[in-house]
Point group: C2
Amino acid sequence: MIPEFEVTILGNTSSIPVHGRHHTAQVVRFGQDFLLLDCGEAMQLQARAFKIRVSKINTIFISHLHGDHYLGLVGLLSSYHLAKRTSPLTLFGPQGLDEIITTHFRWSNTKLSYPLTFVQTHDDGLNLLLDTPRYQVYSFPLKHRLPTTGFLIKEKHGLRSMIKEKLQQDNLSFAAIQSLRKGIDYKDENGKKYKVNAYTHPLPPLRSYAYCSDTIYNPDLKPYLENVDLLYHESTFMEDNRERAAVTFHSTAKQAAEIAKISGVKKLLLGHFSSRYTDLELMLGEAKSVFPSSILSEEGQTYAI
Amino acid sequence: MIPEFEVTILGNTSSIPVHGRHHTAQVVRFGQDFLLLDCGEAMQLQARAFKIRVSKINTIFISHLHGDHYLGLVGLLSSYHLAKRTSPLTLFGPQGLDEIITTHFRWSNTKLSYPLTFVQTHDDGLNLLLDTPRYQVYSFPLKHRLPTTGFLIKEKHGLRSMIKEKLQQDNLSFAAIQSLRKGIDYKDENGKKYKVNAYTHPLPPLRSYAYCSDTIYNPDLKPYLENVDLLYHESTFMEDNRERAAVTFHSTAKQAAEIAKISGVKKLLLGHFSSRYTDLELMLGEAKSVFPSSILSEEGQTYAI
């Protein structure tokens, strides 16, 4: 069975939260695992509105320390404590996030009910943060006004699925099945050979998702983003504010599309929209003129990866 | 003209924000001044929903450092900065709040666009925090699990209004009017006396509002709350959780009503409801059985003081 791999957008606005849009937060589901990417203020309210059970999240990734990307975090950690959470939580984020959190909890005299592990990220290349049987999470550097990382979530192959007819026909041993499912040819005690390709279905293509929260236009991102199925890339501005994008270390929708194009990604998801844009269709048009498979992220929507 | 004196409730839930209720925040308007009492997460979204212009707020009072009373503050201060606010802001709150704020802004490398003055509150009696021509704000101690203060906002008398007919009939000098409006009898150069009571309308009664954010049942509050027009008193629990209220240093609705009763207040506004109560009518009933002028606070509602 292919595990579900999808992302739900909880917030897609930059700076001041208007037009019914909220600060950045998104939940990536891989099978039974729920990962939170950034945690803007009011993330909990958004999760409730969209029926995402925050209790299922066990890993949180914060891209950088601008408020619109993490100011919902202390509230979320507090809610877990109030709900008497006991399951461990791992938090990945830049230097300083641990000091911020411990400062809050020191003054509120809170000793969390669950183990919280902080792992500091570094914006110095591709770094493996999390390795599970079915997927890996990497950080990679983004160019912004603060130390910032994007996150890359890559599926790993699971066990192969057997071709049912061949399985029944040849009455395979348990040891043979185990080996073939792992992708290893098998030889039984009589020397009979069983080829992986003959007994198992071809492996499905591996899926991947890349998240670029806040970044200036940066073609150096290509090696990290190459061929991903879905790329979320910030598009704070339109071309009318191309200079302002550069000054503030943000991107335009067209620049996001250029990154998507040179990286050969399958689909581009736009977000982190400036409050100056009420209607986003023109922005989408600018992206599509460069990269036709561009879509506007919508809060509450889930995108399959 | 009597200045408007009213409070708008932006949030009235305790702990976990459910049932469409939000964390504590309220805006007190006195004439053209807007004061913010506590600032729970998502306060900005609530203000926008209820058409409160946050830019008008120039004084903020934080009662204590439990997250549900202040986790919207750094976001609000950031939004002011992004909106290029220049007008000064004064923040009153307990020890630690300044460290929390400066920790955030140090890591986000933010130098605020406006002067922010932090004034530390102390939970050691009635302390005058703000003295304006028309009102004063005091803090007073609450008993909770952390150092906590309530806030008392008391109207001061403005200038008296003249009795129009008398003014025209006696052709009063400017100096006489100035004196009488200030409430001082006047004698002109010919020795003629003008009595305040004869020339001005009686002063309207002075209004007052008291805010008790989080507190255990505490009859010692009486001297601070005596005869206020409107008392907001937390009522986290109903009588079914009277013991839990004591253990967590909170109050039941009935206890809030008892405080209102012994303090001789005019009206009691209940809030800070536990997420365990969906329907609050039973809670209101418990309060009314002790103090009939009790009402449930509703988010988005404005209550005249």
